[in-house]
Amino acid sequence: MSTTDTSDVTTDITTDTSDVTSEATTETSDVAETITETAVTITIDGRSVAVPEGATIGAACNAAGVNTPTLCWAENLTPVNVCRVCVVELEGSRALVPSCSRIAEQGMVIHTDTERVRHSRRMVLEFLGSSVDLSQTSDLHHWMDIYDADCDRYSEDDHDAKRVDEPVKIQDELYIRDYSKCVLCYKCVEACGDDAQHTFAIAVSGRGFDARISTEFDASLPDSACVYCGNCVAVCPTGALQFKTEYDLRQAEQWRPEDQTVTRTVCSYCGVGCNLELHVQDERIVKVTSPSDHSVTSGHLCIKGRFGWQYVHG
């Protein structure tokens, strides 16, 4: 392989403002006439799609019926666009772009299934699988099959690829933290901070491969600012943060989501009216969630709604 792309890439650092040509392609113009002023029309895998102004490429993909893997994106959190599993090819851009956060602009031409896209998605999945325990990140396995990810090819007979190896932190009876499962999606940090809780008990610490989610000086949760709202647990996509009930049942090999019923109710602790989903297995509440599309909570709760049920069982 030659190094021909070096100068292109370095130029890219500040120059890609002009990368995206915003002329509408001729194929899309007929559609454009039928939509309102505040819509933009873009082309995804050859089909033109109209989305409201400000919508992301990812939203446009959904509208076009194109499924896209995501990991660090969630509808109730500000996009951080760090996992890069959702990348797509944008014509005129030297690098791939994250569909979860890149705003659709009139005339963009997007490809979601080119060799480049498949390669990058596959490599991101392999990198994650080769470094952390994804056994409880269910959504990704489907994509790993699609892209033929081989997470084992990084180790050799005499050499193990470095993994994130951390003992499980069990510091209270409410939830556990197992950072050997953490993909650093920043969701918990956002939920604890700006996007919901405003407690800022946890942040990303360290740098590079050694970056970890942590309290200050790795203080235990009971000694930290944590108020046990459980919102971080609710958004964690990997099981790195897990309700203690769920963790204990999994350890005992008794965790059976297929046998669980989910009952919706309204939290009775105060007058806000948060919606709760009680997950019941063997007649016991094993966890409490809140629908992320609910107008009051956006999926976020406080300690009473999230953990108050523990008193139900005495």
Partner: protein, 650 residues
């Protein structure tokens, strides 16, 4: 006092005094009440952040580190109270930087940082470290210190309130030995390399014996005052032609300056070669007034000019020499940038390992302010502009412009996704012109002599002169200035030719983020267009020379280790890819060969890093490695274990 949860630990009196002093020096009143507002790790809440004083975080952390040798829990709590930043976030920021420690040290001694990047490692960095250890010093092995011309380089981080400094003769092979005869020597006032933070003229026992290997000559433009002017004296700067450009800019007006800069064809010297005229024009076009907006956070309060003095690309030291020996030139050119873009706030973000340059710049700002060349009605115009100096704390990634903004604002130095771009959403989310010091310096000539005269040097597509940082196995390592278009071979000859075996093996162009070229490239004209066409880059002007006796496998493994160490960790392709790339090369080094599968794996990894990473670090993390492989520089024979990389990956 605040609604921030604090543990029981309390800061010591010296810690409190140091933080208060740092806050006062940085312009924050320590007695000011703390305002706690939302924070936002994205660009959207710029003004809120500033109100909240978060951008004083890094100065406060430097003060804690310097006092106690670490960022202690009590110190964090005190800073949290002063600035309203939650302790977990302060810890997250502190643990990001190499010069800040979040574990208690077992000593209060100064720390000796020894560079282990290529020019230093081939000139005996490990021996230097051993020698220092034998003297009982606390040694830390780390990346390039920006003194590659005087390899092996050393930087001493003060503790217990003692200042940081760079000893003059760190190396057995001191720069003296290599200095070309007839080279510019420093004047008396240039000799101070040890500096107390607030005394620009402190003379120390340390001397820097020479400045430039090129004898003074007419073709020097950016370097013409180096070693000639007194860097501590505004009068001396003015006597050598200083500030004529600013006055001329004030006379011809912003529009005319913007036109000249665009017509000159000046492009960025920080590595990306973006046209400076386009960048400035974009910032000038942004409104400086608060916009009527439904999102009050997005309202634009002010515009900024930022000098990116982080200079951490291995092999790069040009900005240091300019800032140390001609600091007023940077201040003047930033002021011209402000005048023509309408910016009112200036920031110098300088790497923490440059104590002398920092002091000289602070001194220059003070003098310029006293002379009415900064502040209100600068140079008798209606314009207002002032400059603040902020020190980095050991993180290559903070040279990436958006990471720099986050770092300066008191956040982790993680690059932002682009778009939006700095010209509209830069520092504090406001319109920002960010430039490399070398880029800025060119503007002085452009304004003084006009675009046409400027274009008389260099080539049509690469006008002007270029600073080259020549290091490695070369007769006279140092900083060179020539018009664009000199060939690589001519530059190597100018610098005294290849030493060691005398036979050229390879040249690393552009630093760790650049690529290797072989001896068949000696005829390559050093221009943007020719290097690009040849599949390499000028980058930040690094020309790192390796003779045939150098073990290139070791050099390449170290480059991979550098990226592994410097990845910010934000995005998966780079966070994991840089580790896997390094592991693969270390394995190759142990086995003495690279199987076809492993070779394919390197290409697979390189592609995802270049294609899906957030920033330029990930985009270029594989380019030197791949160029070395395709040039066949990496030995396929087992090598002796003694040569295996000894640098720490902490």
């Amino acid at each position: 006092m605040t609604d921030i949860y604090l543990s029981d630990e309390r800061a010591t009196d010296p810690e409190i005094a140091a933080v208060n002093a740092a806050l006062s020096a940085a312009g924050a009143d320590p007695a000011d009440p703390v305002v706690i507002l939302e924070t936002d790790r994205l660009y959207t809440s710029g003004t809120a952040r500033r109100r909240q004083r978060r951008h004083f975080l890094l100065p406060a952390l430097h003060a804690l580190q310097n006092t106690a040798g670490w960022i202690s829990p009590g110190g964090v709590n005190y800073v949290a109270e002063m600035l309203g930043v939650p302790p977990a976030e302060i810890f997250g920021v502190a643990s990001f930087y190499d010069l800040l420690h979040t574990e208690a040290p077992d000593h209060l001694d100064d720390v000796f940082h020894v560079c282990v990047d290529s020019p230093c490692r081939i000139e005996g960095a490990n021996d230097l470290a051993d020698r220092l250890r034998a003297e009982g010093k606390h040694v830390h092995l780390g990346p390039c210190l920006g003194q590659c011309e005087r390899a092996p380089a050393l930087f001493v981080q003060g503790c217990g309130g003692r200042p940081d400094y760079v000893p003059a003769d760190s190396a057995a092979t001191g720069a003296t030995a290599k200095a070309a005869t007839g080279a510019t020597t420093a004047q008396a006032s240039d000799s101070a390399t040890t500096q107390a933070p607030d005394s620009a003229s402190t003379k120390a026992s340390t001397e820097q014996p020479f400045l430039l290997p090129q004898a003074p000559n007419k073709s020097l433009r950016l370097l013409r005052r180096i070693g000639v002017v007194d860097p501590c004296s505004l009068d001396s700067y003015i006597a050598h032609g200083g500030y004529t450009a600013l006055h001329r800019a004030a006379e011809i007006g912003a529009e005319a300056v913007l036109e000249s800069v665009a017509a000159s064809g000046l492009s960025g010297r920080g590595g990306a070669a973006f046209p400076t005229g386009v960048k400035w024009r974009a910032v000038a076009a942004e409104s400086a007034q608060p916009e009527q907006s439904e999102q009050p956070k997005r309202s634009k309060q002010s515009k900024h000019v930022v000098a990116n003095c982080d200079e951490s690309e291995p092999g790069t030291f040009k900005d240091r020499i300019v800032m140390q020996h001609d600091p007023f030139a940077l201040i003047e050119s930033m002021t011209i940038a402000a005048l023509s873009t309408g910016a009112t706030q200036g920031w110098i973000y300088i790497r923490g390992e440059y104590p002398l340059a920092t002091t000289r710049l602070q001194n220059a700002i003070k003098s310029a302010r006293a002379a009415g060349l900064l502040g209100t009605n600068i140079a008798d115009t209606q314009h207002q502009f002032d400059i603040v100096v902020r020190r980095g704390a050991g993180a290559y990634i903070c040279g990436e412009e958006t990471a720099l903004f986050n770092s300066l604002e008191g956040f982790r130095g993680e690059p932002r996704n682009k778009p939006p771009f700095p010209t509209t959403h830069g520092l504090f989310g406001e319109p920002t012109a960010i430039n490399n010091p070398e880029t800025l310096l060119n503007v002085i000539d452009i304004v003084n002599e006009g675009a046409d005269a400027y274009r008389s040097r260099g080539t049509e597509r690469s006008p002007g002169t270029k600073l080259f940082c020549v290091s490695g196995r070369i007769g006279h390592a140092g900083l060179y200035e020539t018009p664009f278009g000199i060939t690589l071979g001519e530059l190597i000859d100018l610098a005294g030719g290849v030493t060691g075996s005398g036979q050229l093996q390879a040249v690393l162009m552009g630093g760790a983020a650049g690529s290797f070229v072989g001896p068949d490239s000696l005829g390559l004209p050093l221009t943007l267009e020719d290097t690009r066409a040849a599949g390499t880059t000028l980058g930040s002007g690094v020309v790192m020379v390796f003779d045939t006796s150098v073990d290139m496998t070791d050099v390449v493994v170290r480059i991979a280790e550098f990226f592994r160490h410097e990845s910010c960790g934000q995005c998966v392709p780079c966070r994991v890819g840089a580790v896997r790339q390094h592991e693969t090369l270390v394995q190759m080094q142990h086995r003495g060969r690279l199987s076809p599968q492993r070779r394919a794996l390197i290409d697979d990894m390189a592609e995802v890093m270049a294609d899906a990473s957030i920033c330029g670090l990930g985009h270029t993390a594989a380019s030197a490695v791949r160029s070395a492989l395709s040039l066949g520089l990496i030995s396929q024979a087992p090598i002796s274990p003694g040569l295996i990389s000894q640098a720490s990956i902490s």
